[in-house]
């Protein structure tokens, strides 16, 4: 039970930092960067559950982000729904889609499952591109309103920062509890040995599908928050490349820990921003953007060579 206490403490401290930070760091740029860290971290957290507990790689997780963003975006921008209702529906849509898709494809495992999820992600992408009457097509959907409580609108970086990090910490707390619960123990048993878990009377397939649905919901929630923050959505940020980026974040942060997703997202976002600031200074020219991606790729390789278990290190406690 010590771990539950420690986690609660950690979250309380984190929540206090989140509450206080906007006053200490007034820069909207820094806060905005941190908003994206939280959104990517939420999305990656969903995937991290699939990878950590179901032991499976999804190469189509971006599709859930897209579903969340489009359900919330279309309902509010095109149909004038209340933002919170739309966001809740977006989250539910992520879970329902995951159940519908996961039903058949979670009979697969390993590379076959990765392939099937990859296919799913690409199909969703083409639906977004071509169903333009609803989605706005490749040129996107503008005019998505910010979330609001009464007259209080989450329309500044400081407010969205608190909202996004609040959501992230809440989800971390909930999933942390889940990990420690009876269900969590069953999940770990399945992750360790599916056959042994089945022998002990655990319905492995149903559990894994449940994890996939939860992951879908969490990633869709992140997508919904993204839509209300940026106020504009188009399909291109939600393609195959983002699915891969989420896998990178999870592995970079470490599959073994829920905080790994947060670390991984922070590392990827921060690295891009650091390179943007540092490279022109280093090369004494501002025509250096081409080099940024070379350095980014090399740093990613170096990280994996020296920290193959990820930034959070270690293994998930069995």
């Amino acid at each position: 039970m010590g771990s539950a206490r420690r986690r609660a403490l950690l979250l309380v401290v984190a929540a206090m930092i989140v509450a206080a930070l906007p006053a200490a760091v007034p820069s909207r740029y820094v806060l905005s960067t941190l908003v994206f860290v939280a959104l990517h971290a939420l999305a990656a957290l969903g995937l991290s559950l699939v990878m950590g507990f179901a032991g499976q790689v999804s190469l189509g997780q971006a599709a859930f982000f897209a579903i969340g963003a489009y359900v919330s975006g279309v309902l509010t921008a095109s149909h004038g729904w209340n933002g919170w209702v739309a966001l809740a529906l977006a989250t539910a849509a992520g879970a329902v889609t995951a159940l519908a898709v996961g039903g058949p494809i979670f009979r697969l495992s390993g590379l076959l499952l990765a392939m099937a999820t990859l296919g799913f992600g690409i199909i969703v992408y083409y639906v977004l591109v071509n169903w333009s009457d609803v989605t706005g097509g490749p040129s996107g959907l503008t005019g998505i309103p910010p979330l609001a409580i009464g007259g209080f609108r989450f329309d500044t970086d400081a407010r969205v920062f608190r909202l996004a990090w609040g959501a992230l910490l809440l989800v971390l707390w909930l999933t942390g509890n889940l990990v420690d619960s009876r269900v969590g123990r069953a999940l770990r048993a399945v992750a360790a040995s599916e056959a042994a878990a089945e022998a002990a009377g655990i319905h492995a397939a149903r559990l894994k599908l449940g994890v996939f649905a939860l992951a879908g919901a969490i990633t869709a929630l992140a997508g919904g928050l993204y839509a209300h923050y940026v106020a504009f959505i188009n399909p291109s940020p939600f393609g195959f490349a983002y699915s891969v980026e989420l896998v990178v974040m999870v592995v970079l942060g470490g599959v073994a820990s829920l905080w790994g997703a947060v670390l991984g997202a922070a590392a990827v976002v921060a690295l891009v921003e650091i390179l943007r600031a540092a490279l022109p200074a280093l090369t004494a020219s501002h025509g250096a953007a081409e080099y940024e991606i070379v350095v980014f790729g090399l740093i990613l390789m170096v990280f994996m060579i020296f920290l193959p278990a990820g930034l959070s290190g270690g293994r998930r406690p069995a």
């Binding site: 009979r107 392939m115 083409y126 896998v247 081409e290 390789m301 990280f303």
Partner: protein, 291 residues
């Protein structure tokens, strides 16, 4: 509408040949090392762009081709030696991310060296397209199919008729036993990566006259090649060839007969169906074995 079918089939076969050639590179690395090499598409990009560079320096197609294949094979070997080998004992996921990093870095290097503009590459044998059975086929398309056949034959010969090839296969089946038999696994890994580099370069060089050469061509071609390889089982060269043709013809038929907007979606729906058919035992051929 059905008038177009011969043309769709011909186009699909040529495009399928492209996917098949790229898929073979994935097969070589995966069958030996169990690594999915995300940088395979970037080998193709390097192959295509190096052809541009050598041709611009006045080299003829054969010399440029040989030089390109050697250089990219060396890139593959360096990738194995510098990055993959230190991670031999790490999880498959870490290695996957490593190859993603390598892919990003190589793509960036392509951008720095060649810039963003696409380049034209001279066809191996220039001339007007041919008419075969009511369909138009460009000459380079026949080169793609011919090269795919030759590469396939060479691989078959290498794996079944040479000592090195047998060693590679032994490692693929059981690395530990292979080591006990005195096979140097390190060298086999190096060989596999060098070969996959060479194969990527061959693919890039032969498809570039059709697709042109750009620094960012690797991602999409690599993805399609990977799907082709998985369709065919990811451990079998013959499977990769068949998977490539299946994917190419599917895309082409979907674009011609159903909807060009959803042609990629159609191809991936079939991919998922094939994956499911494998699990339920309704697939007449074997894909990746369950782990």
């Amino acid at each position: 509408m059905l008038d177009g079918v011969p043309q769709y089939l011909a186009s699909g076969l040529v495009v399928g040949g492209i996917y098949a050639l790229i898929g073979l590179g994935f097969v070589i690395v995966f069958s030996v090392t169990r690594i999915v090499n995300f940088a395979q598409g970037e080998f193709v990009m390097l192959g295509a762009l190096l052809m541009v560079t050598w041709q611009a320096r006045g080299l003829g197609t054969p010399a440029a081709f040989v030089l390109t294949v050697l250089v990219v094979a060396a890139v593959g070997a360096v990738l194995e030696r510098v990055a993959v080998r230190p991670l031999r004992r790490a999880s498959g996921l870490s290695v996957l991310i490593l190859t993603i990093g390598a892919a990003i870095a190589l793509r960036g290097a392509g951008l720095v060296v060649w810039g963003t503009d696409p380049f034209a590459v001279a066809a191996f044998s220039p001339g007007p397209p041919l008419r075969i059975a009511g369909a138009v086929v460009v000459r380079q398309g026949l080169w793609v199919l011919g090269v795919a056949a030759v590469v396939f034959a060479l691989l078959w010969w290498f794996f079944t008729r040479t000592y090195a090839g047998t060693a590679v296969r032994a490692c693929a089946v059981n690395p530990r036993a292979a080591r006990l038999m005195g096979i140097r696994v390190d060298r086999v890994f190096l060989l596999a990566f060098a070969l996959s580099g060479a194969l990527g370069a061959v693919a890039g060089a032969v498809v570039a006259p059709i697709t042109y050469a750009t620094y960012d061509m690797g991602l999409m071609l690599g993805l399609k090649g990977f799907v082709a390889a998985v369709l065919g089982g990811l451990v079998s060269p013959a499977g990769a060839i068949a998977g490539g043709f299946l994917l190419g013809v599917l895309e082409s038929m979907a674009a011609g007969l159903l909807s060009s907007a959803y042609k990629d979606a159609v191809a991936f729906i079939v991919l998922i169906a094939v994956c499911l058919a494998q699990v339920t035992g309704r697939l007449p051929w074997r894909m990746v074995e369950e782990e």
